[in-house]
């Protein structure tokens, strides 16, 4: 291992704890495919978002009071009396939505370019674990301001567990710490919401570790073979990531400064009131596709199982996909089905925000069937039947050819 610097202090430390060597190895020299497109920016953006969430959350937590009689007012105190408290809170609340936008794009990138396939299955799993933890964290956080949607969302979602036979009611009582969503519930949700992001951070470290041992996939979906196929992470991808961060921050902060309640529900500016049910209880937008799946089943337990199943099934996707080719670029049929799967998810999301009745219910049911049909039947079958387009010799060969033509 080459010493990362000639600086004596750096050398001294590095000889005892090779932290500089490690950083050089994984953030500077790390060989990266030279052909990554901008869809590969979203992982680092999600990492940035996690850091922003933890920092803003930490300062919010210094002023937040987890008690049913004070939570709502403490958030308003943050908004009005804490210096730049409104900025902290709007960064955090909009940050949650941004985080999910980034991660959804990141996941779909993986689906389209076949990044879940060998040898990246464990990397994919770790991503799904992060996603599940994010869902839990977002749900817990949304309860904290103790507005009407906080309270009623918490009631509806925790009640889902009562669907399980025999133990269901006990689980719900245990989650609530009583017989309804009340102060004990808020008291446990706050520390859980505080700690889960650090669990996420831990899983992110392992996620990146797995990434660095199997290396990045790329739009062509073929392995790096020769040194010409790769470039060092720094400066090529550090600068590309920085450019992406600049663009993303402009998008994110436009909401924070000009439409800070765009993703929010007006009802959450009404203090929680167990005696008044809002006319239309909707979860945060990022849960809507799964909410639609839940409600498309007339049976309560069936709905809950199907909803959890919709995410868990993604864990076996690497084996459901029977194609040898990773990237949809070379899969003329599956490519369109993957895009259709995305459209289907959007429709499910739309349905999730509507009352479950009539046509809406029916469309939701069709989309739910399609979701599972795509993953369980179409994905393996198309993998067998489809004739993929010929793969390029190497990452650098089509690239080289193209630039050769241009000259």
């Amino acid at each position: 291992m080459s010493a990362p610097s000639n600086n004596k202090v750096v050398k001294w430390v590095d000889d005892r704890l090779p932290i500089f060597t490690m950083m050089k190895h994984s953030a500077i020299d790390y060989p990266t495919p030279k052909n990554l497109n901008y869809w590969w920016n979203f992982g680092s953006l999600a990492g940035l978002m996690l850091v922003i969430m933890i920092l803003t959350g930490l300062f919010l937590a210094m002023n937040y009071v987890p008690h049913t009689s004070m939570a709502f007012d403490s958030v308003e105190r943050i908004m009005r009396d804490v210096n730049y408290g409104w900025l902290l809170r709007y960064l955090h609340a909009n940050g949650a939505s941004m985080f999910f936008i980034l991660v959804y794009i990141h996941i779909f990138r993986g689906l389209y370019y076949g990044s879940y396939k060998a040898p990246r299955e464990v990397l994919w799993w770790l991503g799904l674990v992060i996603y599940l933890l994010m869902m839990a964290t977002g749900f817990l956080g949304y309860v904290l301001p103790w507005g009407q949607m906080s309270f009623w969302g918490a009631t509806v979602i925790t009640n889902l567990f009562s669907a399980f036979p025999l133990v269901g009611e006990h689980i719900v009582t245990w989650l609530w710490g009583g017989f309804s969503v009340d102060n004990p519930t808020l008291n446990r949700f706050f520390p859980l919401h505080f700690v889960l992001p650090f669990v996420i951070l831990g899983v992110v470290v392992v996620h990146v570790w797995a990434l660095h041992s199997v290396k990045s996939n790329n739009p062509l979906g073929i392995d790096m073979k020769t040194p010409q196929d790769s470039i060092p992470f720094h400066p090529y991808y550090t600068i590309k990531d920085l450019f992406g961060i600049g663009l993303f921050l402009m998008f994110y902060l436009a909401f924070v400064f000009w439409a800070p309640n765009f993703f929010g529900e007006p009802d959450n500016y009404i203090p929680a009131n167990p005696m008044v049910t809002p006319p239309h209880i909707v979860p945060e937008w990022y849960y809507l596709p799964f909410y639609a799946i839940l409600r498309s089943v007339p049976d309560k337990l069936g709905g809950v199982l199907l909803m959890f199943g919709a995410i868990l099934i993604l864990f076996v996707l690497p084996w459901l996909d029977t194609s040898k080719v990773r990237s949809c670029k070379f899969r003329p049929i599956y490519k369109w089905f993957t895009i259709l799967f995305l459209v289907n998810a959007f429709v499910l999301g739309y349905i999730g925000a509507q009352p479950a009745e009539g046509t809406m219910l029916l469309v939701g049911q069709i989309c739910t069937v399609w979701y599972f049909l795509h993953l369980l039947v179409l994905t393996p079958v198309i993998g067998w039947l489809e004739k993929p387009k010929p793969l390029p010799e190497s990452i650098s060969s089509p690239v080289v050819k193209k630039s050769g033509e241009a000259v």
Partner: protein
């Protein structure tokens, strides 16, 4: 889940009702009046004179029923009231502060740090004085309704809309097509020349309403002016930074064949 079932049954029932009673279905929700508010848009800011007029409307009319618990007297200096005015306003009411040596509640004159004096000591008193209905706290009203400012404006100006003949108005209620269910416990409160403004601003009921809605928006989002001002500076900074990153990216990537 049980409450969800209940909810869906309720929605289904409401839908059936809407189909079954054409009178209800036809009247629908009134279209919101979309006004141009000074604080809208990228560069929009509050009009401080309007906010002060709105405060006057709140104080003279709404404050007889509605509390404003999230606003403190000292906050009013942000809309241009002088420190002396604020002190005088606060001191006009007594507040309880602790207990004296005999254990009796101790009263003192209000201070700028106190919240705006609430008309009723508690919810029961508020309901008793309003025929059982609760006048909600107005601090966050503009953020707590969809299209808040337009909704509140439309609500306050829809009392004189003609009531359908077959409409069943309950005792003590007022017809108002902007309110869900079309009847509201709050009577019409704003009339032409109901308030006289010191700055001589027009005081038709539309003007008075617009002014109080502006004030309510300030109470809901007092940080708006600061927020948008900071937003512009941050965006300009980010735009320059991102452009530089892009130039640098082009330059660095030109070193390799890609």
């Amino acid at each position: 889940m049980r409450s969800m079932r209940k909810l869906f049954t309720a929605i289904a029932a409401a839908a059936t009702l809407a189909v079954a009673t054409p009178a209800l279905a036809n009247s629908g929700a009134t279209k919101l009046e979309h006004k141009e508010w000074s604080w809208q848009g990228m560069f929009g800011q509050y009009d401080k004179a309007q906010l002060r007029r709105g405060f006057q409307v709140y104080k003279e009319i709404c404050a007889t029923c509605h509390s404003m618990n999230l606003v403190r007297y000292r906050n009013l200096m942000d809309i241009g009231l002088s420190e002396d005015d604020v002190k005088a306003l606060a001191a006009a009411n007594e507040v309880q502060d602790g207990f004296d040596d005999t254990g009796a509640p101790k009263m003192r004159a209000g201070l700028p740090a106190d919240k705006l004096h609430a008309p009723f000591p508690n919810e029961k008193a508020a309901r008793a004085a309003n025929g059982g209905a609760l006048p909600p706290d107005l601090s966050l009203m503009n953020k707590a309704r969809k299209s808040g400012p337009d909704y509140v404006y439309t609500l306050l100006t829809s009392y004189e809309d003609p009531m359908p003949e077959d409409f069943h108005l309950m005792d003590g209620m007022n017809y108002n097509p902007a309110f869900p269910g079309h009847q509201i416990a709050m009577p019409q409160m704003i009339f032409d020349e109901g308030v006289t403004f010191a700055d001589g601003a027009p005081n038709k009921k539309e003007n008075i309403t617009a002014d109080v809605v502006a004030f309510l928006n300030w109470t809901a989002e007092p940080e708006l002016d600061t927020r948008k001002g900071m937003g512009l500076k941050v965006m300009i900074f980010l735009a320059v930074m991102t452009a530089l990153f892009y130039a640098l990216k082009r330059q660095i990537w030109s070193r390799i064949d890609h």
